[in-house]
C-alpha cells in the first residue's frame, strides 16, 4: 500500500488529500467513542479507586440489549437505544452492589489487597455477563439499527450520517458531564470525593451516596458508548476483552483518575489506530498504540496527566 508521506508535497494527488480527510473524520468518530467509553471508567477510579474490569461486558450488554429490543421486539431505534442505556445502568448498579461494595466492606480482606480483589471480582463478573450474553444471544456479531441512516459528503469524503451522529453525541455527552461535574452541587461533591474522600465525609456528605451517583453516571456513559459502538462498528460477546483492555490502556495512558487525561489519550489512541489501519495495514492496527503505551510507562509512569 502506498504511503502518503512518501510522496513529495507538491505532487499530493487529490486521492491522498481525500484519504487525509477520511482519516481525520474516521479517527475523530472512533476517538470520540473511545473517549466516552473511557471517561466513566476513569471517573470511578478517580473517586473510589476501583478499576472495573467488567467495563467491556457492560458496554456489550448495552449494545446487545439495544439490538434485541430493536430487532427482536421491534420497539423502534430510539426506544431500543434507551433500553440499552437502561440495561447498562442496571448492570453498573449490580456491579457495584453485588461485587465492588461487598469487597470494599469486607473485614476478611486486608485493605492493601482490596485492589486485586476488586480486579479479580469484576473480571469474573464481566466473564459471567459475557457468557450470559453468549448463551441467550449467541456469539454472532450484532449491529444495532442506527438512529440516523444515509450518507453525506463531508470535505469530499462519503461519510455515513451515523458516524457524524456518533461523534456529535459523544461530544455532547462529554460536555454535559463536564457541566454536571463542575457546575452542580452533586458534581462538586463527586469532584471533592476524588480529591479527598475523608474531607468529604468530614463535611457531612455520605460517601456511599456519592459512589452511587458515580456508578449511575458511569452506567449511563458506558451504556451510551456501548449502544453507539453497536451502531457504528457492531459488537459481539468477543468484544468484551478488547473493549476493557482499550479503556484500561487509554485511562492509564492519560493518567489514572484524570478525566481530561483520558480524553487526550482517547484521541491519541484513536488517531494512531486509524492512521495505522489506513497507511500501513489494518492487521497492525493496535500495535503502535501498545508500543506508545509501553514507552509512556517507561518515561512517565503516572501517565500524561496523572497526579501521582
Amino acid at each position: 500500500m502506498r504511503r502518503t508521506q512518501n510522496l513529495p508535497p507538491a505532487r499530493l494527488s487529490g486521492q491522498s488529500e481525500m484519504r487525509a480527510f477520511q482519516i481525520l473524520i474516521d479517527g475523530f468518530a472512533i476517538s470520540a467513542l473511545y473517549a466516552l467509553g473511557a471517561t466513566g471508567f476513569t471517573l470511578i477510579f478517580g473517586v473510589s479507586g476501583v478499576l472495573n474490569l467488567s467495563h467491556g461486558a457492560i458496554m456489550v450488554a448495552a449494545a446487545v440489549a439495544a439490538w434485541a429490543a430493536a430487532s427482536i421486539f421491534n420497539v423502534g431505534t430510539y426506544a431500543g437505544a434507551l433500553i440499552g442505556v437502561a440495561v447498562a445502568l442496571l448492570a453498573a448498579f449490580a456491579t457495584y452492589f453485588a461485587v465492588v461494595k461487598p469487597i470494599q466492606d469486607s473485614r476478611r480482606i486486608p485493605n492493601e489487597e482490596k485492589e486485586i480483589f476488586v480486579l479479580t471480582g469484576t473480571l469474573l463478573w464481566g466473564i459471567m455477563i459475557q457468557e450470559l450474553i453468549a448463551y441467550f444471544f449467541t456469539n454472532n456479531a450484532k449491529t444495532v439499527l442506527p438512529i440516523v441512516e444515509g450518507v453525506v459528503d463531508v470535505l469530499g469524503v462519503r461519510t455515513p450520517k451515523n458516524e457524524i451522529f456518533t461523534a456529535i453525541v459523544c461530544c455532547l455527552v462529554i460536555a454535559l458531564l463536564w457541566l454536571l461535574v463542575n457546575r452542580t452541587r452533586t458534581g462538586k461533591a463527586v469532584l471533592a470525593a476524588s480529591m479527598n474522600p475523608r474531607g468529604v465525609t468530614l463535611l457531612g456528605l455520605e460517601l456511599t451516596n456519592i459512589y452511587i451517583v458515580v456508578w449511575a453516571i458511569y452506567g449511563i456513559l458506558a451504556g451510551i458508548a456501548g449502544v453507539l459502538l453497536g451502531m457504528f462498528l457492531g459488537v459481539s460477546s468477543y468484544s468484551v476483552g478488547p473493549l476493557t483492555a482499550s479503556a484500561f490502556s487509554i485511562v492509564v495512558l492519560g493518567g489514572l483518575g484524570s478525566v481530561s487525561g483520558s480524553l487526550i489519550a482517547a484521541f491519541v489512541v484513536g488517531y494512531l489506530e486509524t492512521l495505522t489501519a489506513y497507511l500501513v495495514s489494518p492487521a497492525y492496527r493496535t500495535i503502535p498504540a501498545l508500543l506508545l503505551l509501553v514507552f509512556v510507562m517507561y518515561i512517565r509512569p503516572q501517565g500524561l496527566l496523572g497526579r501521582r
Binding site: 461487598p102 486485586i116 480483589f117 479479580t120 463478573w125 457468557e131 483492555a245 501498545l290 509501553v294 510507562m297
Partner: protein, 308 residues
Amino acid sequence: MASFFTTRLFFISLALVVIASTLPLYVSGYVLGLLTVAFYFGVFAMAWDLLFGFAGEVNFGPTFLIGVGAYTAGILNAQFGWSVYLCIVLGALASVVAGLVLALPALRVRGPYFGLTTLVAVLMLQNFIVVFADLTGGEIGLTIPDVISIDAGVNYWIALGFMTISAAILYGLSQSPVGLVLQASGQDPVQAGALGFNIVKHKLAAFIVSAFFSGLSGALLVFYFGTASVGTVVDVAVGVNVIVSAVLGGRRTVLGAALGAIFLIVAGEFLRPTGELATFIVSAVALLVVLFFPGGFLGAALSREARS
C-alpha cells in the same frame, strides 16, 4: 523448614501425591488426559502465586511467560527439528529472558500500572504471533511433530512428577528467608529496603523463578498437546484462568494455587453437559469464593486449623 515435615499439611500433600500417582492403574485415559493438563496448569498458578502472593506484583500476563516458553520450544522443534528435551530447556530459558524483560517495568511502576504493562506484553506477544505467521503458525497454531510420549499414563506421571517437584521448590522458596524478604518487599518496599534487604535483587529472583517454571510448564504442555496455539497458551483468557486458580485456591499459599487449578479444570469438565453455561457457572463459583472466602480453599482450611 524442618518442622514442615511434621505438619499435617505435609502428610496430606504426601498422601494426595501417592494416591494421585496410582491413578493410571485404574482410571481411563480420558481422566488422565484431563488431569495432565490440570497439573501443568497447577504449575502456572503456583508460579503466578510466587510473583503475586509474595513479591506483590500484580501480573495480568502470566501467559506472556508461558507463551514465550511454549512457543520457543514449539518453534525450535517444528521449524528446526531440534530434540524435544533441548527444546524444553531452551523454552524455559527463553521464558527466563522474558521474565527479566517483564521485571524491568516492575522495578519502576507499581500496582495497576504494572498490571497494565503485563497485559500489554501479552497483547504484543499475540500480535507478534499473528504477524509472523510463517514462523509461528499464526492464528491457526503451530503443529509440533514430536511428543514426549504417546502413552497417557507416562504423560500423566511426567506431569504429576513435574508438578510435585515444582511445588516442593516453590513452596520451599516461599517459606524460606528469601520468601519472607519477598513478602516484606511486596507489602512495604521502602521499609524492607530500609532494613537493608536488596529489594531489586529479590524481585528479579522472583521473576526469574516464576518465569522459569511458567516457561518449563508451557513447553511441556506444548509437547503434550502436540500443538501450540494462541488460544491454549497465550490468550488473555488463559491468563485469567491462571489468576482465578491462584485466588480460588488461596493466594500466598503456593500449594493452594495448584489445588485451585485442578479444581477449575476438573469442574469445567464436569460442567460440560451444561454446554455454554459451564464458564458462567465456574466464574460464578469463583466469584462467590472471592467474596465469601477471600482466603481461598487452602486459606480457609489453614485458618480453621490455626484456630483449633
